[in-house]
Amino acid sequence: MSLPTASLGKDLVGLEDLSAEQILAILDTAEPFKEISERRIKKVPVLRGKTIVNLFFEASTRTRISFEFAEKRLSADSVNISAAVSSVSKGETLVDTARNLEAMRIDMVVMRHGASGAAQFLADRIPSNVVNAGDGRHEHPTQGLLDLLTIRDHVGKIDGLKVCIIGDILHSRVARSNIYGLLTLGAEVAVCGPPTLLPLCADEFGVEVFTRVEEAIEWAEVLNVLRLQLERMEGGYVPSLREYNRIWGVTNERLAAAKRDLLILHPGPMNRGVEIDSDVADGEHSVILDQVTNGVAVRMAVLYLLAGGQPESAEAAKQGHGA
């Protein structure tokens, strides 16, 4: 199988600085990888001999498991570290954690961290490949990529498509990665949410801004509905979850008023009855589970491409052991 190549550089920190060619290369690489997960024996030796650390400073189920499946299906050796049971809880700094991992001669780090910029920080300080699995409010690039892949699968294109991201844009790394990736691929992008949950200069991101969900539904062809973190209510950004649902919830009644059928995405985990009603989430235009399936393929593509950029993988490939 001849896989397309793309130079992503050493790391995948975000989509903001990627070109359309780089993003499309990842999506195109993900296509053949989808098939691996459909096999009876879901394993290929592409990353055999590679050591990957999944370093999660924040709780994660979906993203961590998705990365883990991607790694296992490419035959990498992976180790999971969560902050609660690691030396981080003993006061070790991020840079020391990274250097210690590096001293064990690992090849890649997949990191989730609560601080914006943490992935860049790590990438600047260790020679291993760094894949950002979410840094604070900044970016969650593999989520953005799997959203792009899912939209492309279902609509057939991204260029010129009208995509609206609904919810807590201010605190959302998913929103930022979607905005950057969609704009780079030529989509028209809008954001919608309570003004308390929109960045001050949202319009300067190059997106439309709606503060009423009805206007967003009227405008869009695709809705990406973000999870409303419960702590936003405690923080006073919205008065109550019930009010949020009544005013910004994506409901069948509201969708019925649209002039066309809208593709519905949600990065999960969903608060049914808050940002999205169950009949929408489970409805015929929802592609939420396709997103999850695509997540594994996209992450395989990212790991593969980053590994291909490393000189040592060339040696391994020569011996028939890997990419």
Partner: protein, 427 residues
């Protein structure tokens, strides 16, 4: 026998006397004796050849964090005073947000004594406004002044209670000292990591809006107007803040204010890449704000250039942006940055630079110096306006190296710093 120092052949710029001429300066027993064209110094005088150099009244920085007591791994009064001297400063005001804070006369006495022991730049203690910097009740202001405090401030934190700020502005008038405030409405900014705007939005960092600073600047101006007290506004960074101070001065409000070198030359663009050495409070703002601060410095709305020298250990800055402390070092880069990026760019001339870095800081805080008039303290800065150099933290005298100016190529650097007629720094 008297000790004499003869500074020969330099260009003397002393705005306090309207002097700008190539003349000599003679300092005897720690005091300026005379300026003149053909001085006959005593035979025992040490002669310093100042040809090609500029001689000014000693520079004074009214906003410096010495970190002692409590955070001596970042800086001590000795290293801070030496860094000040290396930066051309003959006097610095030590902020009281130490651990414990400088909120009583004993602590003020300690800072003063450590400053004398350092034997470098003069160290003027500043006391807290409130006990423990807690913002609740007035500290022992009168006794702190008796012990040597030259001003009061809760710097690092604003005084959130307007009633307390009113009391401070009233009570301080008995002692003729300014009340210095770090203007910030924490309700708007407490969680903020940088200027709130497009860059914070893109980086996913929480923001401090201009309004957080503007609200407290306007409040402080109103309270100074109400009480007749002297408010000194620290590190002004916003367009509206500068304009508000300008209007208040026109109304006769007793206000003085600072501009920091970093707010004069950098914007929030410098944060891109999550550079923790571009993280300080107030944050770097937009180019519009930067231009307003430059205009304010030029027209005198902002009286003083003050570095807000804020040393932090490299471990503390070597972390994710949100986890890094606010502040940058500034003492050793101020003269070079101001000469290269403010004076050479035509914002102010050399005379105004000396006004803002020597005469007006002395006047605003009632400090000796700021002049080379006969009988003034022999505090003198001599700098070479033409020497080119590159900022290298390995050369810093300060214990810390958290500077956004690392690697900058600057023109102009101090070569002698003289305190009380004694050379405390020379290249």
């Amino acid at each position: 026998m008297s000790e004499a120092l003869w500074l020969h052949g330099g260009r003397v710029i002393d705005p306090s006397q309207g002097v700008d001429a190539t003349i000599d300066v003679l300092i005897v027993d720690g005091l300026v004796v005379t300026l003149g064209g053909d001085l006959r110094p005593p035979e025992t005088a040490r002669t310093v050849d100042c040809s090609g150099l500029i001689i000014t009244p000693g520079l004074i920085d009214v906003h410096v964090h010495m970190r002692e007591p409590g955070e001596e791994h970042k800086e001590t009064i000795a290293t801070g005073a030496a860094a000040a001297a290396a930066g051309g400063f003959t006097g610095v005001c030590a902020m009281p947000n130490t651990n414990p804070p400088v909120d009583d006369p004993a602590a003020v006495g300690f800072v003063a004594a450590q400053g004398r022991r350092a034997g470098a730049a003069r160290v003027y203690p500043v006391g807290c406004i409130s006990v423990g910097r807690a913002g609740e009740r007035l500290a022992l202001v009168g006794e702190m002044v008796d012990a040597g405090a030259v001003a009061i401030t809760d710097d690092g934190s604003p005084v959130m209670d307007s009633g307390l700020m009113r009391l401070a502005l009233e009570y301080s008038q008995s002692f003729g000292i300014p009340v210095a405030d770090h203007p910030e409405d924490l309700g708007l900014s407490a969680s903020g990591q940088m200027n709130e705007g497009l860059i914070s939005g893109r980086l996913g960092l929480s923001g401090k809006p201009n309004a957080a600073e503007d609200i407290h600047i306007v409040r402080d101006l109103l309270l100074a107007e109400l009480t007749g007290g002297h408010i000194h506004l620290q590190h002004v960074s916003t367009r509206f803040g500068v304009e508000s101070i300008r209007q208040a001065k026109a109304r006769g409000v007793r206000v003085t204010a600072e501009a920091s070198p970093h707010h004069l030359v950098l914007t929030h663009e410098a944060v891109k890449g999550y550079l923790t050495d571009a993280k300080m409070n107030p944050p770097l703002r937009t180019s519009e704000d930067k231009e307003a601060v430059r205009d304010g410095l030029a027209d005198g709305t902002l009286d003083t250039i003050a570095t807000d020298h804020a040393p932090h250990h490299y471990d503390e800055k070597e972390t994710a942006f949100a986890d890094a402390p606010n502040g940058i070092v500034g003492l050793e880069t101020a003269v070079g940055v101001i000469l290269t990026k403010v004076v050479a760019e035509g914002v102010i001339d050399l005379q105004t630079m000396v006004e803002r870095m020597s005469c007006q800081p002395a006047r605003a805080f009632g400090l000796p110096g700021g002049s080379l008039a006969e009988g003034s303290p022999g505090d003198v800065t001599v700098f070479d306006p033409n020497v080119k150099w590159t900022v290298d933290p390995e050369d810093f005298v300060s214990k810390s190296r958290n500077s956004p100016f690392i690697g900058w190529e600057l023109t102009g650097r101090p070569c002698y710093t003289i305190v009380g007629g004694r050379i405390v720094f020379e290249v």
